[in-house]
């Protein structure tokens, strides 16, 4: 009995000892910077005595963040950009993934073409779209001029700047969602759709009743990952509009960057970063709650 207990303890102990190096690496690489970020968010920083001086200020940075109209506008813009872009990208990506996944010819060619935008560096994408949108010399306005239409100032218009940014984001990131969903499509058993077809189901019925429910978990993974990325958008905003006109395209990342470096307010920038982190975490929780509810409803229907 005692020997069995000792063996069981050794087994359990070994489990923790084996995991220890990984846990230590995770704590050092992930937790430590986050702890530093959080502690900085409760401080005010300034250059003094040849270094950076930290003074504790309690919740002052957080109170300032909620009263900061530009920060709130940046959060709203980022959330809108994430919701609109990710929704449209997901819809397009699912259609493309199903089409490519079930196409009999040119599968590899389509796949290469559709993932191409994802391979380009964001700065190159920014420059490319800047040349497309430019009011005086841009391709878009030259094409419009060719058909007798005077093109607008895409990136300087109060009404068009934000939609123009969303178009770039969709162009850039649809391929990412496409790639994930395509991987899901390729793992689906073909027998299910074939037997449904034999039973007389139409193609839209097969997609709606069989393929989409099976793809739901992988689509959710793509949506969550893409939403996190959408909150990090920076390069294309920096290159295309720099947050303007006014602050219509100001996003969280560009504002934090300005606060941190231009304004030299590290503590306040840290508090904005922590709030963004919490906001994204809350959003992901909502996604998983929706998924759980959809799962329950699905089982109840069956």
């Amino acid at each position: 009995m005692q020997i069995r207990n000792l063996t069981s303890w050794a087994d359990n102990g070994f489990k923790y000892i084996a995991l220890a190096p990984l846990i230590i690496v995770l704590v050092v690489l992930v937790a430590a910077p986050v702890v530093q970020l959080v502690s900085t968010s409760f401080a005010r920083t300034r250059f003094a005595s040849g270094g950076i001086e930290f003074t504790p200020v309690g919740l002052a940075n957080y109170r300032a963040a909620f009263a900061d109209q530009v920060a709130m506008r940046a959060l709203l813009n980022t959330t809108l950009l994430a919701i609109i872009s990710v929704s449209v990208e997901t819809a397009i990506a699912v259609v493309l993934a199903l089409a490519v996944g079930y196409s009999r010819r040119g599968n590899i060619l389509y796949r290469t073409i559709f993932i191409f935008p994802m391979l380009l560096p964001p700065i190159a994408i920014g420059v490319m779209w800047l040349m497309i949108y430019d009011f005086n010399y841009g391709v878009l306005n030259q094409v419009l001029a060719f058909v007798g239409v005077r093109g607008p100032a895409w990136l300087a218009s109060n009404y068009l700047a934000f939609p123009s940014i969303i178009v770039v984001d969709i162009w850039h990131w649809t391929s990412f969602v496409f790639l994930i969903v395509l991987a899901g499509v390729e793992t689906l058993p073909h027998e299910l759709s074939e037997s449904a077809r034999i039973d007389g189901a139409t193609e839209p019925q097969i997609i709606r009743r069989i393929l989409l429910p099976l793809l739901k978990p992988i689509i959710l993974v793509a949506v969550v990952t893409r939403t996190i990325f959408a909150f990090k958008v920076y390069e294309q905003i920096y290159l295309l509009t720099d947050g303007g006109p006014g602050n219509r395209t100001e996003v969280v990342s560009s504002y934090i960057m300005r606060v941190f470096f231009n304004q030299n307010r590290m503590g306040y920038a840290a508090s904005l970063s922590v709030l963004t982190l919490l906001f994204i975490a809350a959003l992901i929780c909502v996604f998983y709650l929706i998924q759980a509810r959809l799962g329950r409803d699905g089982r109840a229907t069956k």
Binding site: F47, G51, N136, A153, A156, N247, R248, N262, Q263, N264
Partner: protein, 442 residues
């Protein structure tokens, strides 16, 4: 087997002997021909005058035998790299280029060395332009002042000048604009969209830089130190500031292309190069762009004058000076090597050489020498502008104030705020920032 061992042994010997020669790291030992200083590394922004700077650095290397490594950085990444370097245990660079707008926080925080701490006898000679004491910092007053300690050397003497098309103005019978009324008259005459516009202003990417030339020409001010009370006076919400803001909005919007809210310095230069505007006021460093046949359609047809004012003589071009400073987190030997270079680069003949290569010099005598050469058609305008030059905000939280102002100005340009709301908000926020940073405000 023996021959393999011999080859490996030979390779190891070669690596030991030749390794240091190929190593990419800093050479701490001066070359036998140098005047005794170790190699220095300079962080500088990649700008049109970087080529000119490289030229004079190679002259320095030839003359002294000292080695200099130039590290170029896009302007947008400069502040990040400087902050990282100055707050590290030891700076990566021996000289860093700063910007008038945010240099003061590094002076105030002791992150760059006082030049008189390296060499107690260091002083500027009378020919050096100090641009309202841009590199001197008075820790008691919290601003740039003659009484301040010298923390750097002005290397890029950028200042606004008014560029205009000599051919177009001459054909239409206009003299170079001297007043804001002249500017609007010329703009009205040439405005013929979409082929030609009358005038553009810097509406984004530090729009306050353009506004300040107008504001100061109306005797307005953002803030100033009141010697009598010992307090700072916030002047941005005064009537003259409102008059200046309204005029600046006309400059930015009235005779501009439809995309005026997104026009920054680069777009202004580009519109001038393409011949689509008859004039614009921007930095001196833009001048060589108009002479570049590969990029400009107006080569030989651009002139320059002092930035206009409400009437002749009431001019107030704004400076955008970039000083060189020496990090404080360096061993003395490297600080001395850096200072030796800074002293060399300020010499009159070196400055003229720098100017001829395309640099924006920081000596009045160098501008006057360059003005004698027709190739430097902008030099006389700069020499004429220096007596009127006005500095930007000269307090430690300058970067914070400018960032706030940029946000407000971008909103007033697109009509999200009225001019009155803009100035009221600017006053409230400047007051809050100054008080937050410990400045006495009246």
């Amino acid at each position: 087997m023996r021959s393999v061992k011999s080859v490996i042994g030979l390779l190891l010997l070669l690596a030991v002997v030749a390794g240091p020669a190929f190593a990419g790291g800093r050479s701490e030992v001066a070359s036998s021909e140098s005047d005794g200083h170790p190699e220095i590394s300079i962080l500088i922004n990649e700008s049109p005058w970087l080529g000119a700077f490289r030229e004079i650095v190679s002259v320095y290397e030839r003359e002294t035998g000292n080695s200099v490594e130039i590290v170029g950085s896009p302007y947008g990444a400069l502040l990040t790299r400087i902050t990282n370097s100055l707050t590290a245990p030891e700076s990566e660079f021996d000289i860093v280029i700063l910007d008038e707008v945010w240099a003061n926080q590094f002076y105030e925080g002791g992150l760059v060395a006082a030049l008189t701490d390296i060499d107690p006898d260091f002083a500027f000679d009378s020919g050096v332009l100090e641009y309202n004491w841009v590199t001197r910092w008075d820790h008691d007053l919290g601003t740039n002042a003659e009484s301040g300690t010298i923390y750097g050397v002005p290397i890029n003497g950028n200042m606004q000048i008014m560029y205009y098309r000599t051919d177009l103005l001459s054909e239409a019978g206009f003299d170079p604009p001297q007043t804001w009324d002249d500017v609007f008259e010329i703009a009205e005459h040439f405005y013929d969209p979409p082929n030609m516009y009358g005038m553009v202003g810097r509406a984004t990417g530090r729009p306050d830089f353009g506004l300040q030339a107008v504001l100061h020409s109306f005797d307005g001010y953002l803030m100033r130190y009141d010697v009598d009370s010992g307090n700072w006076d916030i002047g941005i919400n005064r009537p003259e500031a409102l008059e200046a803001l309204n005029l600046w909005l006309r400059l930015v919007r009235e005779y501009s292309p439809q995309d005026y809210p997104s026009i920054g310095q680069a777009q202004m230069i580009s519109l001038m190069q393409s011949g689509r505007i008859p004039m614009a006021y921007t930095v001196t460093a833009a001048a060589p762009n108009f002479d570049n046949p590969a990029a400009s359609a107006v080569v030989g047809n651009v002139g320059a004058t002092v930035v206009p004012g409400p009437e002749p003589g009431r001019n107030a071009p704004t400076t955008g000076i970039q000083p060189f400073a020496i990090p404080n987190n360096l061993p003395n030997e490297r600080k001395e090597a850096a200072l030796a270079f800074l002293q060399w680069v300020l010499q009159p003949d070196v400055q003229v050489q720098f100017g001829r290569a395309g640099g924006i010099v920081t000596r009045q005598d160098a501008w006057e020498t360059l003005a004698e050469d027709p190739d430097f058609w902008w030099a006389q305008a700069v020499a004429d502008s220096t007596p009127y030059a006005r500095g930007q905000i000269r307090v430690a939280p300058g970067g914070r104030i400018f960032d706030m102002l940029e946000g407000l100005l971008r909103q007033v340009v697109v009509g999200d705020l009225t001019p009155e709301q803009t100035l009221q908000q600017a006053e409230t926020q400047i007051r809050a920032i100054m008080e937050d940073e410990g400045y006495p405000v009246q």
